[in-house]
Amino acid sequence: MSANYQDRDLVLPGDVLFEGRIRTGENTYRSQEQVYATRLGLVNYSPENVSVTALSAGYTPLVGDVVIGKVVDMDLGEWRIDIGAQSEAVMGIPDAVDRPFRTDYVMTRVLDIGDTMIAKIVDLDRRRTPVLSILGPGLGKLYDGFIVHITPSKIPRLIGKKGSMINMIIKETGCRVVIGQNGRVLISGPNREREAMVVKVINKIELEAHTSGLTNRTQEYLRQLKESSQ
């Protein structure tokens, strides 16, 4: 029963994190009373489990996630949408149009191939394919703005404690920022300069997600950007 690392140490796949009986958390696996890491990340020890916060990982869809997706294909009665997960998501007409179902809808008037939208995962079907919906407040087709990518496991850092980081960014720049849980972030603001500022800040957070005191440093960085633009 012993921990082999200190809290928040960088570990790699195959590193033995813990020897003895303990519950295995995210990005770990157990083999013969030893707990190993499966991803590159920072190790977290708590009294009842061991987990790794991945620094690089793909997106695993969960019901309830708000994601930003792009239509890549259309079938009879459904759109196939790329959300950056292991499989494409689907969305049927009843999830896209808030009217009684009719067979003569022109689907391309709602969403065409290449369109981008904010959607919500309402279900994972029997093959674990995500099912999306664009019915709801804040959801729907997108017409303008920047989309930047961030590693999905770093989203909690972008949001901050109780939204401290994201609220600070919105307040300082006056941009609208929508974070998709799949790592795509929409930025639309009053002008290009403000939007570019947010893009720079998000890229900085991506690079420094594993360091502490990030919100204060980001605020400082944003102020510097503002001063240099004026």
Partner: protein, 278 residues
């Protein structure tokens, strides 16, 4: 060497001559010791459009590796319902060797692609991504012997960089025989002139061999010795893979802290060796 003409004259000294060549440590064509690896440099995250990537320089080998996935499998009928499919594509650039090589995939390329796949598969949690594919693309920019080992080393780093769940890293290293002597990490010359060549891929933390091939002839004892030498070589490679992955995040310090408490002197001198023992 200057003594040669004098020794030839006296018959009594002649039997001493073979001993003389045996006693001083034998050196290889490029001046390495028998168990010395070529200079090895790995960098991770070099391709912005790939999910994970790595660049390796192993001696004069220069290899780029890109990993994509887990993503939707195309064509869909190749997908497996219970697990992901790992697809490897090994390709040598036309200018990677002299004379120029045809860019079309050869029989050798197909073999190495397959061999890499089976060397990496045991390390990847394929069962977590049913119906998906994980694609590993290897592009050899410059070849100098042992490209399959170098490719596996790069691919393992790129897979971790892509955030694909892995049981362990995979490190690879070749052992061979030239002039009846075992040598580690063959270069192009040794590969062609040698009597035998045995590439080995190894998961260092789990202690499992994932690839074992051999060309040429070796006795049973030699094979056993060679395998142990290869595993030692793989462990050295593994340390460099670790460094490459950590370097991207610029935080090697927290890793070294607990080790420094145990052996402060050794960690300062040889930080790489220390990590392998934990």
């Amino acid at each position: 060497m200057s003594k040669k003409p004098t020794t030839k004259k006296t018959a009594a000294r002649k039997p001493a001559k073979p001993r003389k060549t045996k006693v001083p440590s034998w050196k290889r064509a490029d001046g390495r010791a028998f168990d010395e690896l070529r200079t090895l440099k790995i960098e991770s995250g070099v391709l912005p459009n790939a999910d994970g990537s790595a660049y390796i320089e192993m001696g004069r080998n220069k290899i780029l590796c890109g990993v994509f996935g887990p993503r939707e499998m195309h064509p869909k009928h190749n997908a497996k319902p219970n697990e992901a499919v790992l697809r490897c594509r090994y390709h040598m650039a036309p200018f990677s060797v002299d004379p120029r090589r045809s860019p079309a995939p050869s029989r050798r390329d197909q073999e190495i692609s397959m061999v890499m796949r089976s060397a990496l598969e045991p390390a990847v949690f394929l069962e977590r991504y049913p119906r998906a594919s994980i694609d590993v693309y290897i592009e050899v920019l410059e070849a100098d012997g042992g490209t399959r080992c170098a490719s596996i080393n790069a691919a393992a780093v790129a897979l971790v960089d892509a955030g694909i769940p892995m049981r362990d890293l995979v490190a690879a290293c070749a052992v061979g025989k030239i002039e009846d002597k075992l040598i580690v990490d063959l270069g192009d010359y040794e590969d062609k002139k040698g009597q035998s060549d045995m590439p080995v891929a190894y998961m260092p933390k789990l202690g499992k061999v994932t690839l074992l091939q051999m060309d040429g002839i070796m006795s049973t004892e030699e094979t056993e010795k060679a395998l142990n030498l290869a595993i030692e070589g793989c462990k050295k490679v593994y340390e460099i893979q670790r460094e490459a992955l950590k370097k991207k995040y610029g935080i090697d310090q927290p890793q070294d802290k607990p080790q420094k408490e145990f052996t402060p002197e050794e960690t300062e001198e040889e930080p790489q060796k220390e990590e392998g023992q934990q």
